[in-house]
């Protein structure tokens, strides 16, 4: 018997069998309903990501103050979301416009490879490696995200601005009702920690380059008990300013 035949035989071992679900049809119907809701609007999904990102600082502020927080710390959505303006077109300020100097907010660049959901990357100019002040800065940025379109722009790199503009244009008050719970699984530099999914590292290094990767600070979070749904919020520091740039 060849190795291939043995493999074929072992793959057909009855050990692979699993018990069928007694409520299979109802279970699938429920899952289909969830999928329909989830895919009802791409805009809603984007809003959810940004909204969840806005909730993380609230939890971070309640957790231990260690710079690198691992493990599962459960947190609850803020009970009183801030006021949300009515939907209206949001205009992205051009490069070099007042209040947004080009040395801090240079034009975003296209990823080298289409390896991830990143549609834009931060410009590598002026980026700095994370330092001792980075954990605190990340908390501040997260805390500020979601308060207003202009204030979001001030704490974000231009590569995140299209996402923020579409979120604010669509209105964001629903986010706080949906976001629910999240657990912070990791907060730290992208470059060296096993707490960051390799797929995220690869996407940043291959898509945005080594300098962006070396400067990136990551917060990995997700719903309690569902690590497969983890998401990552990414930041860079440019000339002393910490900037949110992606939520993967």
């Amino acid at each position: 018997m060849t190795a291939e035949e043995r493999l074929r035989r072992l793959m057909r071992d009855s050990g692979w069998s699993l018990p069928a679900w007694p409520d299979a049809d109802a279970r699938v119907q429920r899952a289909a309903r969830r999928q329909r809701l989830a895919s009802a609007s791409i805009v809603a999904a984007v809003l959810l990501v940004v909204g969840t990102a806005a909730l993380v600082p609230l939890a971070l502020l309640d957790t231990a103050s260690a710079p690198v927080a691992t493990g599962h710390k459960h947190m609850t959505a803020h009970p009183s979301p801030p006021q949300s303006p009515p939907p209206r077109p949001q205009v992205i300020p051009p490069v070099g416009s007042a209040g947004f100097p080009a040395r801090i907010y240079p034009a975003a660049v296209k990823p080298r490879l289409a390896v991830s959901a990143l549609s834009l990357c931060p410009d590598a100019a002026g980026l700095e490696a994370p330092g001792s002040a980075t954990p605190a800065a990340a908390k501040i940025v997260l805390h500020q995200l979601g308060r207003g379109f202009k204030s979001d722009l001030r704490v974000s790199d231009r590569s995140a601005w299209p996402l923020l503009a579409s979120s604010w244009q669509s209105g964001r008050t629903r986010l706080f009702a949906r976001a629910g719970r999240a657990s912070v699984r990791y907060s730290g530099p992208l470059r060296s920690s096993p707490g960051v999914p390799a797929a995220v590292k690869h996407a940043i290094v291959a898509g945005c380059g080594r300098r962006v990767a070396l400067s990136t600070w990551v917060i990995v979070y997700g719903p309690a008990g569902k690590p497969a749904l983890d998401a990552a919020i990414l930041f860079v520091t440019r000339r002393g300013h910490m900037l949110f740039y992606s939520a993967d």
Partner: protein
């Protein structure tokens, strides 16, 4: 004449009949019972949403294709779990699932393989699909399928030596 549109009424019957095979396929594909259940549930739910356009004779292949695509997409994003050494171990101590030492070794080895290699091996040796069909399913060339299969087989070869199988078969009998 091609029979089309099984309809929602028949979906429940389809699930009842096809579920054991789909769960088994998902288990081989993922190496983990819970992930297999999640995968089957997600693929069936996706299929239900497009059930009106599924030919009844193609329903099982359709769902299996959805499982493969979902599995690859999911692991493309989260394969770090494998690279970081995460091994699903929920079934290791389940005596009902430990049919044989060889099977358990194979399960562990399959889980350690990169997702594309594992998927190619499952489609080739469990589903008996030709390489051209596998390539079509996975969105790559037949040459890539062959190279992935060769690498996967090479990784598994120590487990597939004759004495390993013979010992497992003896202890299992």
């Amino acid at each position: 004449m091609v029979e089309t549109g099984p309809g929602k009424d028949s979906f429940g019957e389809f699930v009842a009949g096809a579920l054991p095979g789909l769960l088994r396929f998902g288990h081989v594909l993922t190496g983990d019972p819970r992930e297999a259940e999640d995968l089957v549930q997600e693929a069936l739910a996706r299929s239900l949403r497009r059930w009106h356009s599924v030919r009844s004779s193609d329903a099982v292949p359709y769902v299996r294709r959805a499982m493969v695509n979902t599995h690859i997409t999911r692991w493309r994003r989260w394969e770090a779990r494998v690279r970081l050494g995460h091994l699903p171990d929920r079934s290791i101590d389940d005596p009902e699932l430990r049919r044989s030492e060889d099977w358990d070794r194979l399960r562990r080895a399959l889980v350690r393989l990169p997702v594309r290699q594992r998927t190619v091996l499952v489609l080739r040796y469990y589903e008996d699909l030709p390489d051209t069909r596998i390539a079509q399913l996975m969105g790559c060339s037949p040459g890539t399928v062959r190279s992935q299969a060769a690498r996967g087989l090479a990784a598994l070869r120590p487990l597939l030596e004759p004495e390993t199988v013979d010992r497992g078969a003896t202890s299992d009998s």
